[in-house]
C-alpha cells in the first residue's frame, strides 16, 4: 500500500482551475519530483499537501490517514522553502529548534536533537550565527536542518536549489540525494529544472496547466515520454521532432522523413499498426543522432542520413551539432574529437531503437 496518496485533488481559484483531478501515489521512502514550467500548479500542489492552501475537492492521505482538514502543524510534514524562510531574529540553533520548542520538547532533549542534525549537515560551527551572517549554501543547510530535526513523515521541498549558483546547486543536489539514501525519508520535491528531476527522483510527475501529463520513473519519462509536451520539456537540448509519413516500400512499412529524402524503419517502441499515408512525428533525442563512431553497436535499426551542418557547439565532453535537411533542422550529439564545421555535408547515424512516435494531432505517443 502506498504511503502517500493524493486522490482526485482539484483546486479552483475563482473560475480558474489551477489543479485538475490530480492522482498520485508514493511509496514510503520514495522521492517524488513535481516538475513543469512555471505556473503549472506544482507549487500549489505542494502547498496543498502542506496544508497552507485549502483544497476544492479531493483527498490527501498519509499513512492511511486523511489529512485534508488537519492544521499544517498537525500533519507531521516539514517543508523547505525556496527562500529558506529562516527566522531572521533567531540564531541558527533557535531556528532549528523552533519547531521542537513549539511542541514543548524539553530543553536538553532539544539541544541533543539540534546537535545531531547539525552534525549530519556539518553546520555545528554555525549554531550561534544569525541567518544574515550565512552564505546561500549555509542557509540552505539550516533550512534543511529545520525540516530534519522534526523527523516528519513527509518532507516537502519547494525549489530549494533555485537561489544557489550553478556549482553549489550541483553540490547540494548530491547532498540531498545522499540524505535521502541515508534517512529513507519520503520526499516531495518541486522543481522546474529537469536535470534535478532526473537525478533525484524515484518517481517524476510532469505537470502542465494543472494537469498531470505523465507519472513515471526518470527513465520512463526520459525514454518513453507520454506526449509531445513531456518529450519537449524533459531533456536538454530538447528532443528532435521530425515530421514523417508512413510509406510502404516492397511491402514493408517505414517512415519517410525530411520531406521524403530519407526513409527509416518504424521504431520498436511502436506496436500499433500504422496505416500507409498516416502522418506522424518521429521523436529522437540528440544522443540518438550521432557520428558513425558513436553508434551503439547493439542497435537493431539504424539509418545513415547526410545533412548540412549549420551550427557546432562543443561542450567539452561532446559536441552538439545542429544540421539541416530539406528545411528541417535537428540536433545531434557527436564525439568531441570529430572534426566538423558549419556548411559541411556530414553523415549522421540515426539510432531508431531510441526513437518514439507521436500522433501529430493529439500529441500523444503511439504505443
Amino acid at each position: 500500500m502506498s504511503f502517500l496518496e493524493i486522490k482526485n485533488l482539484s483546486k479552483k481559484i475563482g473560475n480558474n482551475e489551477v489543479l485538475k483531478n490530480i492522482n498520485i501515489e508514493l511509496e514510503k521512502g520514495g522521492f517524488l519530483v513535481l516538475v513543469g514550467p512555471s505556473g503549472c500548479g506544482k507549487s500549489t500542489l505542494l502547498n496543498a499537501v502542506a496544508g497552507l492552501m485549502p483544497l476544492t475537492s479531493g483527498e490527501i492521505i498519509v499513512d492511511g490517514q486523511v489529512i485534508n482538514d488537519l492544521h499544517p502543524s498537525k500533519r507531521d510534514i516539514a517543508m523547505v522553502f525556496q527562500s529558506y524562510a529562516l527566522y531572521p531574529n533567531m540564531t541558527v540553533e533557535e531556528n532549528i529548534g523552533f519547531a521542537l520548542e513549539m511542541r514543548g520538547v524539553e530543553k536538553a532533549e532539544r539541544a541533543e536533537a539540534i546537535r545531531n542534525v547539525a552534525k549530519v549537515l556539518q553546520i555545528e560551527h554555525l549554531l550561534d550565527r544569525r541567518p544574515s551572517q550565512l552564505s546561500g549554501g549555509q542557509r540552505q543547510r539550516v533550512a534543511m536542518g529545520r525540516a530534519l530535526v522534526r523527523q516528519p513523515r513527509v518532507f516537502l521541498f519547494d525549489e530549494p536549489l533555485s537561489n544557489l549558483d550553478a556549482k553549489l546547486r550541483v553540490e547540494m543536489r548530491a547532498e540531498i540525494k545522499s540524505l535521502h539514501h541515508n534517512t529513507d525519508a519520503t520526499i516531495i520535491y518541486v522543481t522546474h529544472d529537469q536535470i534535478e528531476a532526473m537525478t533525484l527522483a524515484t518517481k517524476i510527475v510532469v505537470l502542465k496547466e494543472g494537469a498531470i501529463q505523465q507519472v513515471g520513473t526518470p527513465a520512463e519519462i526520459y525514454n518513453r515520454p507520454a506526449n509531445l509536451f513531456v518529450a519537449d520539456f524533459m531533456g536538454s537540448p530538447a528532443m528532435n521532432m521530425l515530421k514523417g509519413k508512413i510509406v510502404s516500400t516492397s511491402g514493408v512499412r517505414q517512415i519517410s522523413i525530411f520531406d521524403g529524402s530519407a526513409v527509416v524503419a518504424i521504431p520498436s517502441s511502436v506496436t500499433t499498426d500504422l496505416v500507409e499515408g498516416r502522418e506522424v512525428i518521429l521523436g529522437l533525442r540528440p544522443e540518438g543522432i550521432t557520428d558513425s563512431g558513436l553508434v551503439d553497436p547493439t542497435a537493431d535499426a539504424i539509418a545513415r542520413i547526410d545533412a548540412d551542418v549549420v551550427l557546432v557547439e562543443p561542450t567539452g565532453s561532446d559536441t552538439f551539432v545542429t544540421a539541416r535537411l530539406q528545411g528541417t533542422t535537428f540536433t545531434a550529439r557527436v564525439r568531441a574529437d570529430v572534426t566538423i564545421a558549419p556548411k559541411e555535408r556530414f553523415t549522421f547515424v540515426f539510432n531508431l531503437d531510441k526513437a518514439v512516435v507521436f500522433d501529430p494531432t493529439s500529441g500523444e505517443r503511439l504505443l
Binding site: 527562500s83 527566522y87 531572521p88 531574529n89
Partner: protein, 293 residues
C-alpha cells in the same frame, strides 16, 4: 565617473560648497532663533526682559523662573505650577502610545498575513480615519465619552487618542508587514506556532524600525495635542498643552515672560527626549534595512 571633474574645476566646486554651507548655516540659525529666545528669556529676570534686548544673553542667569513654572505659577485659581499637568500628560501619553502601537501592529499583522474576505475594505476604512479632520468628531466623541462615563478623565483622553491614532499606526504596520515574506509565516505555521506565537516570536522582533517610527509619531502627536485636551478635559485633569495655554493667558497683574518661556520648554522636553533617544534607533533601523542581508 570622472566626467564631472573634467568640466568643473576643483576651485569652483569648493566655492559652490561654501555657498551651500553658508546658506544652510544661516537658515539653521533662523530656524533655531525662537528656541534661543525662549531659553535665554527663561534665564533672565523680569527687569532685564523689560530692558527690551530680546537677543542678548542673560546678564545674571538664574533658574528662578524654572522653579516657579514647575511648582508655583498660577494656572486658573490654583498656584501649584505645571507639574501636576505634566504628570497628567505623561499618564495620558504613555498608555495611549503603547495601546495604539500594539493594536496597530496587530491590525497590520491580520491585514497582511491572515487575510479575510473584505480585508481591503476594512483597511480602506481605517485609512479613511486618517483623513477625518479632528474638529468634525469633537461633538460625537464628547457624547460617546459621556455615555462611557469617561468625560473629563485621563482614561477618556487615552481612549480618544487610541481611537484616532489607530488609523495611522495600522497604516504604518500594514505597509511594513506587507513586505515581510509570507513564507516565514507559513514556515512558522508548519513548525506549530499559533496566531499570537507567530506575532510575538517572528513578527515583532523584526519590527524594530517601524515600532520606533510609530512611537515617535504617536508620542509627538499625542503630547502636542491641544484640541482634544481642551475639549475633553478641564481644570486639574488637563494635559500639559492646555495648562501651558492657561498659564500664559491667565495674568495676575504682571506678564511673567520668563516663567511662560520656562513652562514652554518643559512642555517641549519630552518630545525632544523621544527624538534624541529613539531617533538614533530609528536611523539605525533604516540603515539595517538598507544593507543587503
Amino acid at each position: 565617473m570622472s566626467a564631472p571633474s573634467d568640466t568643473v574645476s576643483a576651485g569652483s566646486a569648493r566655492t559652490t560648497r561654501l555657498v551651500i554651507y553658508t546658506l544652510l548655516l544661516v537658515l539653521a540659525a533662523i530656524y533655531l532663533l525662537p528656541l534661543y529666545v525662549m531659553l535665554t528669556t527663561s534665564f533672565k529676570s523680569l527687569a532685564e526682559i523689560r530692558g527690551g534686548d530680546m537677543l542678548a544673553l542673560p546678564r545674571d542667569p538664574s533658574l528662578d523662573s524654572w522653579f516657579k513654572a514647575w511648582g508655583e505659577a498660577c494656572i486658573g485659581v490654583t498656584c501649584e505650577g505645571i507639574k501636576g499637568y505634566f504628570w497628567n500628560s505623561i499618564k495620558m501619553v504613555v498608555p495611549a502610545v503603547l495601546i495604539s502601537t500594539v493594536l496597530g501592529a496587530l491590525n497590520g499583522y491580520v491585514l497582511t498575513k491572515w487575510r479575510f474576505p473584505g480585508h481591503k475594505l476594512v483597511f480602506g476604512l481605517m485609512l479613511f480615519a486618517c483623513f477625518i479632520p479632528f474638529q468634525a468628531v469633537l461633538i460625537p466623541m464628547a457624547r460617546v465619552l459621556g455615555i462611557f462615563g469617561m468625560a473629563n478623565t485621563t482614561s477618556g483622553l487615552v481612549f480618544v487618542h487610541v481611537v484616532y491614532g489607530l488609523g495611522f499606526t495600522t497604516l504604518f504596520f500594514r505597509n511594513y508587514y506587507e513586505a515581510f515574506p509570507d513564507e516565514l509565516i507559513k514556515a512558522a505555521m508548519m513548525d506549530g506556532a499559533g496566531f499570537f506565537k507567530i506575532f510575538w516570536r517572528i513578527l515583532l522582533p523584526s519590527s524594530g524600525p517601524i515600532i520606533v517610527v510609530t512611537v515617535i509619531y504617536q508620542f509627538t502627536n499625542i503630547w502636542n495635542d491641544f484640541l482634544f485636551g481642551v475639549s475633553f478635559s478641564s481644570g486639574a485633569e488637563s494635559p500639559m498643552t492646555v495648562a501651558l495655554n492657561n498659564l500664559v493667558s491667565s495674568s495676575t497683574g504682571v506678564k511673567e515672560y520668563n516663567v511662560d518661556m520656562a513652562a514652554a520648554v518643559f512642555a517641549a522636553l519630552p518630545t525632544l527626549f523621544v527624538y534624541i533617544v529613539a531617533g538614533r534607533y530609528f536611523v539605525r533601523g533604516l540603515m539595517a534595512g538598507a544593507v543587503k542581508g
